[in-house]
Symmetry: C2
Subunit: 344 residues, 2 copies
């Protein structure tokens, strides 16, 4: 669907103006604010066309024009200019992410915070996904007579710990046995394969010793599961309440969605291979049908490993969102690469 140049210019002007001000814009205002040397009547004709084609709509007869979902789509695909981020902003992002302590999880948690701050809306991020990541090493730390802590280190540099408790005294010797047995069987195994079924055959293979292990094994399963399912970080959820395109009901709907961990995870479960923009009902979840999502991915070792996203009303500064997210993703990936190489 190609549109004459002037129409495109007008469409871009309407959308950018609307994104900036939140107000519908009419032919007269458009005339003054653009490099178009045509009268308002001419613009009106073009607006009528654009409206007929479904790119714009009028909230009511005597209001200006507002972009439709289709309009945003066209804008994002054809009209939007990518802008380079200002140096100070880049510097700020770097600082914020570097000061997270040395765990990938912290970096991504900071990533969502920074994104939310800079873009003024909700931001989400996932820790490196468990997909393809493996058990690297498991260690035990005795924390008390009946309690102990298990430390799982994955091939993607994540470290998860879990406490467990047994009815009997946990001796250092016992932990040594656990340690040897577990690492022998688990090192190198894909996290996802460490499931309930595996635990059973594993315990069985130990005969009577296996009977002592259920609490420990549960902790292992737990840790592997947590490390294997990418955790989702959310920041700035309350900012939704300031988006006056969303009424209280819609905002509540989105917030509810955000509070549901499984839904959030589902939303970010597929890591895009670049940056994606989903507008309105292009979103998979009906809760987000009035929202837009901009999502990008960061890479570890040059492979997409997790997502960073923002969600806002359809009136979102797409251009800036893309720039900010992509830069955050770039820096995050680099920092994690660094951590992993330190673990070597």
């Amino acid at each position: 669907m190609s549109i004459a140049l002037r129409k495109q210019k007008i469409l871009a002007a309407v959308i950018e103006n609307y994104i900036a001000t939140g107000e519908p814009i009419g032919s007269k205002a458009l005339m003054s604010c653009e490099g178009l040397n045509v009268s308002s009547a001419t613009i009106r004709n073009e607006l009528a066309d654009l409206t007929a084609q479904g790119f714009l709509r009028q909230p009511h007869t005597s209001a200006g024009r507002v972009p439709t979902q289709l309009g945003y789509r066209f804008y994002v695909d054809n009209l939007m200019k990518r802008s380079e981020l200002e140096e100070p902003v880049k510097r700020y992002i770097e600082n914020r992410l570097e000061s997270s302590s040395d765990a990938p999880e912290n970096i991504l948690s900071s990533a969502s915070e920074v994104a939310s701050e800079l873009l003024g809306t909700v931001a989400l991020s996932t820790a490196p996904s468990g997909e393809g990541s493996r058990v690297y090493r498991i260690k035990f730390v005795r924390t008390g007579r009946h309690t102990s802590m298990l430390v799982l280190i994955t091939s993607t540099g994540m470290v998860k710990s879990r406490l467990f408790r047994c009815d009997f005294d946990i001796t250092p010797e016992m932990l040594n046995v656990f340690d040897r047995a577990l690492n022998e069987k688990l090192a190198g195994r894909p996290l996802q394969s460490v499931n309930r079924a595996f635990a059973q055959t594993f315990a069985a293979s130990f005969g009577e010793l296996g009977l002592l292990m259920p609490d420990m094994l549960l902790a292992v399963l737990d840790a592997c599961e947590e490390a294997g399912t990418a955790k989702v970080y959310t920041s700035g959820a309350t900012k939704l309440l300031y988006q006056n395109e969303l009424d209280l009901i819609s905002a509540r709907e989105v917030l509810e969605f955000m509070n549901d961990d499984s839904k959030r995870r589902e939303l970010l479960s597929t890591v895009p291979d670049g940056t994606e923009i989903l507008i309105g009902n292009e979103n998979s979840s009906p809760h987000l049908r009035k929202c837009s999502e901009v999502v990008t991915s960061y890479s570890i070792d040059n492979k997409p490993a997790g997502s960073i996203a923002v969600i806002g009303s359809m009136r979102l500064d797409y251009s800036r969102a893309v720039s900010v997210l992509e830069y955050i993703a770039k820096v995050s990936g680099e920092l994690i690469d660094e951590i992993i190489s330190a673990q070597s």
Copy 2:
């Protein structure tokens, strides 16, 4: 300030009715719903008195009466009946808290969740406060060539872990040295005394070895600080948006407050010695001036150790909130006591 019995009865009826329905109540409705055998005119007279005394107010001339902050106060202090919790609810609370894994933090995180669920409003809880808790043991786990994890076990049964990274190879021998040195100096020390100043003298006492330790020491400080400052858990923040006593602006204000970690911590920093109810501007924070807070404490080893609270509009079911919170606190304390005795 004593009030005649009949007035008290009427006041209680107005408040309980308003808490239940959210609607102002008038003399006629009051007449039918109470065990008072007097006419609406008589009730009107009493209502007029109670209003003059500041316990009630009218939203407008032709509306019924609504409690004021003073009214709620009097109700809570003198009129409110404590009710025993139903058995199934007790059972539910126990189940939810027991299924949290074996860490005090998880129990308290669940505590706030359950409270929020049962009372339909925001709930907060603090992990056992660092006050008076000491370093019990510190352990190290090598997680990579340049990275390692430190595990701090406190006298209150908390376990905190922290990753750190050095520029040089971390050998097991080195960790052994760290381990011995740290535990010698730190075991039994109050968490709060493990601060920057301490770290400096500590590092100095090691001569050249001290130079290798800054990253590790930072991790120790970090872990002690985190273990020493009670973490605050929040649940059900979005429920505030359903309280129609709070308009969008007020709800936003409260949500903002909730998002500010330092404010939340301040709010719960003093652990009450029983249950406290703060109504309206009795709250220390002006953000909560339209809200009420019910806060109670749980005890570890018979000493108050942390708080569990709910915050809602002033129209809160105080009676139920008290029952639910106190029961949650009781169970939480017991479970934590158990964990600690398992570490012995």
